[in-house]
Symmetry: C2
Subunit: 249 residues, 2 copies
Amino acid sequence: MSGATPAWPPQSTPRLFVDAPLGAGAAVRLDGAQAHYLVAVMRTKPGDPVKLFDGASGEWLAVAESVGRRDLTLAVREQLRAVETVPDLWLCAAPLKKGRIDWLAEKACELGVARLVPVVTRRTVVDRLNLDRLRAHMVEAAEQCGRTAVPALADLVKLPALLRDWPAGRALFFADETGGVPAAAAMRAHAGPAAILIGPEGGFDNDERDAIRALPDAIGIGLGPRILRADTAAAAAVSLWMATAGDWR
Amino acid sequence: MSGATPAWPPQSTPRLFVDAPLGAGAAVRLDGAQAHYLVAVMRTKPGDPVKLFDGASGEWLAVAESVGRRDLTLAVREQLRAVETVPDLWLCAAPLKKGRIDWLAEKACELGVARLVPVVTRRTVVDRLNLDRLRAHMVEAAEQCGRTAVPALADLVKLPALLRDWPAGRALFFADETGGVPAAAAMRAHAGPAAILIGPEGGFDNDERDAIRALPDAIGIGLGPRILRADTAAAAAVSLWMATAGDWR
């Protein structure tokens, strides 16, 4: 630890996503869980700093003004950071059991995915999905990992529709348990917009795999000799893309 | 689905780790949770196949003989696969909150880590660790992901002792939040035995970082511009190593 004067706002400053446009001079009123967190957990007092981001205009420094028991008002002072630019990577993944899909949404946000697309496949056991809960997990992850934007969350789509409407020129790296080229080399060779497609725990069936392969932008990738759970494969593939074609280089 | 005769044993054959040496002709008696799983959950009947592995002699085909309500005996027939060789990668990680360290152990096994080393650092909040529970999570992951060996699990060690006894020649890639070279390039440049060191949620303190850097085999790596949780950083770094220096190439 150096003896220098600590920076203001301190590192411990709470950081929250607000679903309203931010700007210098704006007043933001918080209630519910966010107010409880600031007032009851963080013991925020008038004059205390809070970092806010809205997913569109970057990160802002705000200061608590009136602090009630169940709500508080913050005055937005100045922009701390511009909105981030994350690399153009989508993660298309079949819904998983509650705990695992929540974890996948958290990791997708931390690792820097721009868009999460839940995809229904034939072997997808989970056919209903709480998008609000998924988004809440991504918001919490964005608050924690310093992202100034929350990944976009697409509606649940069936695999045939996803493939039918696939945007030409966006590489589609799909985890191919039947083989496929080593992931890192394949990703390094394809710069530009990309997506990773991960099947359900049971994998794609043969017809689905054929349909994916028929897409000109599809590239089957291998993730090593061991069987990976779907959530593990997703985190591994996104990490490899970020390191070979994304902003970890 | 092809119309060919399904292979025997079928893909759905249960797969279990047994903590006793296996060999052709051996009889294995199971009780407790494993017997409950086979008898009550999988409805195993005499003559049904079960895959067994002991972490040392590969994977074996066994057949249920006597099946009781709370225990059953299996006859080991033949070896299906030799014991695997996983690349020589250790994951040295500070203990995390219960759910996250369990998840990390599962992922370490799936991704192919040879040895998991829990490390206590100054900012490690969790100083007690249930090694049996960690091992149980790795065993379950090994059963699921087809590994024929469970990663070795080291005793909890303090960071200074880990560094003091570090085996010369084993590259130590540590996640350096203060910077560091891009992980994939650094790992590609260092073949041979390696380890990944991940700090606790609070990161390493400055003295610890200096002590790690003082190790000749230490290489500080960066994992991109976003802040990653410790469990995310561990999964990402192991994936990158497997793809650039391990057996995913």
